[in-house]
């Protein structure tokens, strides 16, 4: 039996007096794609930040390859685990190539800031996401979808086996959401990366992740393959949402069709009439 790449053991997380996540356990196995879903404020982004050692745990701990992440030097962690925060900020005037090159930071030193390895990896990361043609542009001049591809290139240049993505598709239109998630899928299938991401769109989560972790009130309430997690019962208890589940005609994964107030009323009328 292989040890999980990333483990959360009895985690309690919070800010100030406010407990957000309590008693949470999670194992992330090597080479898997996991999506964490849940309503706003359920603690999914907090969980991701703790997994990425971006916030301290109040109780319990996070293990990376069996070692406590808070006791491992942060540069060493940065060679194994990369993180793409929600809405990352790029300094004004930074070029695409310079930004992606910053991903090499954990592999560099003050005297070694642009080795031939760095150069190869960055060039490859850029061509992999198709952003090589924009290498000399400044990041602020790009569209939202292109910018996200640049950040993914940076995470790729960091060369980590494990990648944590916090809502990588926010503020993108549907076409660009699909584009970004296609990239994430290639990260997994072609580059063998282990991915954990927080996603809002349940249908895309079901399509791109092999495993869904549903959270509510700081706890995991459902965990498994999409067709077992995305059920009408789960949507009602976790999201307070009445919905029907149909089969995605393209991918064969579950597809959530929300009902909403007007149609719920119609359903009742139809039932009465019938």
């Amino acid at each position: 039996m292989t040890t999980p790449r990333l483990e959360a053991r009895d985690l309690q997380l919070g800010y100030g007096d406010h407990v957000i996540v309590d008693g949470l356990n999670l194992d992330v196995l090597d080479g898997t794609v996991t999506a964490v879903i849940g309503p706003n404020g359920c603690g999914k982004s907090t969980l991701l930040r703790a997994l990425a050692r971006l916030m301290p745990t109040r109780r319990g701990h996070v293990l990376l390859d069996g070692r406590r992440i808070d006791r491992t030097p942060t540069r060493e962690v940065a060679k194994v685990l990369g993180v793409l925060p929600q809405n990352p900020i790029a300094p004004e005037g930074l070029t695409v190539a310079d930004l992606v090159a910053r991903g090499r930071h954990p592999h560099q030193a003050w005297y070694r800031q642009w080795s031939s390895d760095d150069e190869d990896v960055v060039a490859e990361a850029l061509s992999w996401t198709g952003m090589d043609q924009f290498a000399e542009r400044t990041v602020d001049a790009l569209s939202g979808g292109q910018r996200q591809r640049v950040w993914i290139s940076m995470a790729l240049a960091q060369g980590t086996d494990v990648l944590l993505l916090d809502e990588p598709t926010t503020f993108l239109d549907l076409a660009h959401q699909v584009e970004v998630l296609d990239l994430v899928e290639r990260l997994h299938t072609e580059a063998g990366r282990t991915v954990v991401m927080v996603l809002h769109d349940l249908n895309l989560a079901a399509r791109y992740a092999k495993r869904l972790v549903a959270m509510r009130g700081g706890k995991v309430v459902a965990d498994g393959p999409p067709d077992q997690v995305l059920t009408e019962d789960m949507l009602r208890t976790v999201f307070d949402l009445d919905a029907q589940i149909v089969l995605d005609p393209v991918a064969g994964t579950p597809l959530v069709v929300p009902i909403g107030r007007r149609h719920r009323a119609l359903e009742v009328v139809a039932a009465d009439a019938g």
Binding site: V83, P85, P91, R102, P106, S115, V122, L126, A135
Partner: protein, 362 residues
Amino acid sequence: MTGLLERPPGRLAGRTPVRLGPFSGVWRPRVIAVTLTGLALLVLVAAVNIGRGDFPISLAEVLAVLVGGGDEAQQFIVLELRLPRTLTGILVGAALGLSGAITQAIARNPLASPDILGVTAGASATAAAVIVLGGGNGVITGLLSAAGLPVAALLGGLFTAALVYALSFRRGIEGYRLVLVGVGVGAVAMAITSWLLVVAEVYQAAQATVWLTGSLNARGWEHVVPVGFALVVLVPVALLLAFVLGGLQFGDDTARGLGLNLNRSRGALILVAVALAAVATASAGPIAFVALVVPQICQRLVGSSRPPLLASAVHGALLTVGADLIARTALGTELPVGIVTAVLGAPYLLHLLARRNRGVTA
């Protein structure tokens, strides 16, 4: 060439590598050009500044004396009377430029300067206190207070910076809170300075005002040595720490994700910036706008995403010595250099503020 210094074409536009054995970096011709041009201009302006005065010495003669030539009278005037003043200007300007570049990079804010770290306001309040309370009331004799002024200003600046740091520390230092706390503490220190000026005797008030404007008048070798020593130690430290500045420009989460120890890197950089600004202010008083304006100008000259450190130091020295030249010669009477840097710097600050109307990125 032996081919030891490798400069292959590079696979990425704009990131041509320079490699020498285990050393590697990106070839940035604009940074080098801006730094070297600044250095050449600095030598020129400094030589002109040294040549000007009641006993004019030509540019060629000044340069001859500096490399060991010239007659005895020229040597005395240049080396004993005028060089210390210009050298103080160069060193103070370099310290302020470098300190400003570091502060702006950490705060991720082009309007930040070491002033917001409390250094200047604290040093000013302490210096004013020494001049006003020490001079007239016999608490400290005049001579002692004069000798102790830079030391007192240095301690006052460092103490205030420590206070700002302590007040804005909450599980680490965050750029935005540092700016806000710095502004608040600075306001308190400025109020103390104003109060001291109001209660002071006329002569002491005038003396304090000259100090508070920032001046290079009557600076001797005793002013050169401390700031020179500080730069010899702190410039290499700053250049080593510059390696982490690239990562610190991102949001905190991204920087931590890249394996940066935020509190340690930021703390060390703030310490360097504070020490540079404190030593500079202790030597010449708070010379306005150098630390604020120079890094921004340099950033635009080299076209980078953050102020270049070495270029900011060189151009800080250039602006200070250039302003001193204008202050000494333009209007007949000798003005404090701080007035000229403020006159040159303020319009630029307004321009910068107007351009940033679309909102400050935190």
